[in-house]
């Protein structure tokens, strides 16, 4: 997954806006994929959770776009916001999905993303020199903190004893092909 060394270097405000925007875009894409997977595998409950998460990230993306004003983050994002060997921090880790995952597990997945994003922006706060950019980074750090806290709350609400994925599945896999 995302690795500090992979992270795009951010030196200007517009860079930061673009990266922040791209992070949200990637997250949306990933949650939509997960929602689709859950629909295909008849886990409607989780599909709804992921659609909600995608929607929430969509709101964030819109906010950043608003903040960006004239900066065309949609165009800049894919160019600046590239993590070389890994993934953007907020994008959910597809490989930890399971068709029987619970709401709490989904939320943990989201939490991991938020925590990575938080760490990334904290790093930007430390490293970026442009004061405007630093200011925005601080703001983003605050926002991510809220998200992390929200995830924790939701997880507490939905937490159930963790199942060992794949082991407790009463249905044997079915051969195809």
């Amino acid at each position: 997954m995302s690795d500090k060394a992979d992270a795009p270097s951010v030196s200007t405000l517009s860079d930061l806006l673009a990266v922040a925007y791209q992070i949200e875009v990637d997250a949306i894409e990933r949650y939509k994929m997960l929602a689709e997977q859950m629909e295909t595998h008849n886990n409607v409950e989780l599909a709804a959770v992921f659609r909600d998460l995608a929607r929430a990230e969509g709101i964030h993306a819109a906010e950043i776009r608003r903040l960006a004003g004239d900066v065309d983050v949609a165009a800049l994002g894919p160019e600046v916001g590239q993590w070389m060997t890994g993934d953007s921090p907020e994008a959910a880790d597809l490989s930890s999905a399971h068709y029987m995952m619970s709401r709490a597990e989904a939320l943990r997945m989201a939490l991991a993303g938020e925590e990575r994003a938080l760490a990334f922006f904290e790093e930007v706060v430390k490293s970026v020199e442009d004061p405007e950019a630093r200011e925005l980074a601080k703001q983003l750090v605050e926002e991510e903190r809220e998200h992390v806290e929200l995830c924790h709350q939701l997880i507490r609400r939905h937490d159930k004893p963790l199942r060992r994925l794949g082991v407790e599945d009463p249905d044997a896999p079915e051969p195809q092909g």
């Binding site: 997954m1 997960l34 794949g166």
Partner: protein, 277 residues
């Protein structure tokens, strides 16, 4: 970056409206994402790309893209891609296959496609198992994996596809890990751009039959050195690495094979002359 503005494609332009039926968690979702991102970066429109596969979970990729596709029979993706590319050299042709489809039943075409060195890219989603048929060992499966078909394990040494590719003449050899979407994307871009036969082995976990492969993400690491153009050196490196070295490992400079076409061609009646008495 070229001066002319490329038409800006997004990865989603290369995704079809068909929802994949892979198990959630399967590495192949990542590979699909990497392929569509790579295609967006390459900047050709979807109709100028053809994706060819055999049979297996991994081989389901073509229909999930918005490109021309061929989901052929088990093991025969490479010959189909060969015919396609020979007739339509203008198309970008990518073969997507699995370790069973590509290395077991399709092993002979693998050898000979490397040797033929057409300008194709072969992407193997290697999960060291036959996913689609419920977990039988493939040529890359570890010898001690207990399966219903091979109780107690096969006892066979897994084979090293990268060395085989090199030995048989592939012009570009790389290893990627499905989870590293960014790196995989750029390797695919590189592979498609490199002339001749490009071989990309992607470690792509099967969460259903090889849940142990979830640990791959902690095992992979970038190759310590840059790609070489010396096949003997590349072979030695690969034969002695730990199997988790990621990156472009070999970049050859053989001329790709281009079949001899007779241009627009002569009048058919000229062919008859040899028969005239």
């Amino acid at each position: 970056m070229s001066a002319e503005p490329k038409p800006a494609y997004k990865a989603s332009d290369f995704k079809s409206d068909i929802a994949p039926i892979w198990c959630p968690g399967c590495g192949d979702y990542h590979v699909l994402l990497s392929i569509t991102r790579a295609l967006a970066q390459l900047g050709k429109p979807p109709e100028q790309v053809a994706i060819v596969s055999g049979i297996g979970c991994s081989s389901r990729i073509p229909a999930y893209t918005n490109c021309y596709g061929f989901h052929g029979v088990h093991g025969r993706a490479l010959p189909i891609a060969t015919g396609l590319k020979v007739i339509r050299p203008d198309q970008t042709v990518i073969v997507t296959t699995g370790d069973g489809d590509g290395y077991s039943i399709g092993g002979n075409h693998f050898l000979h496609a490397c040797r033929r060195n057409l300008d194709l890219t072969m992407i193997v989603m290697d999960n060291h198992i036959y996913g689609m048929t419920k977990g039988q060992p493939s040529p890359t499966t570890e010898p001690d994996l207990d399966t219903a078909l091979t109780p107690g394990g096969t006892g066979l040494r897994p084979f090293n596809p990268l060395v085989i590719a090199l030995a048989s003449g592939a012009n570009f050899v790389a290893r990627a890990f499905a989870g590293n979407i960014g790196q995989t994307t750029s390797i695919i871009v590189d592979a498609v751009t490199h002339p001749g036969f490009s071989f990309v082995e992607i470690l792509s976990p099967c969460v259903t039959f090889r849940p142990d492969q979830r640990s791959w993400k902690t095992q992979v690491h970038p190759a310590p050195v840059d790609a070489t153009d010396d096949p003997a050196r590349a072979a030695r490196r690969i034969m002695t690495d730990d199997g988790f070295n990621l990156g472009v490992l070999y970049r050859g400079n053989r001329q790709p094979y281009t079949p001899k076409f007779g241009g627009s061609g002569c009048d058919l009646s000229e062919l008859e002359r040899e028969f005239e008495l």
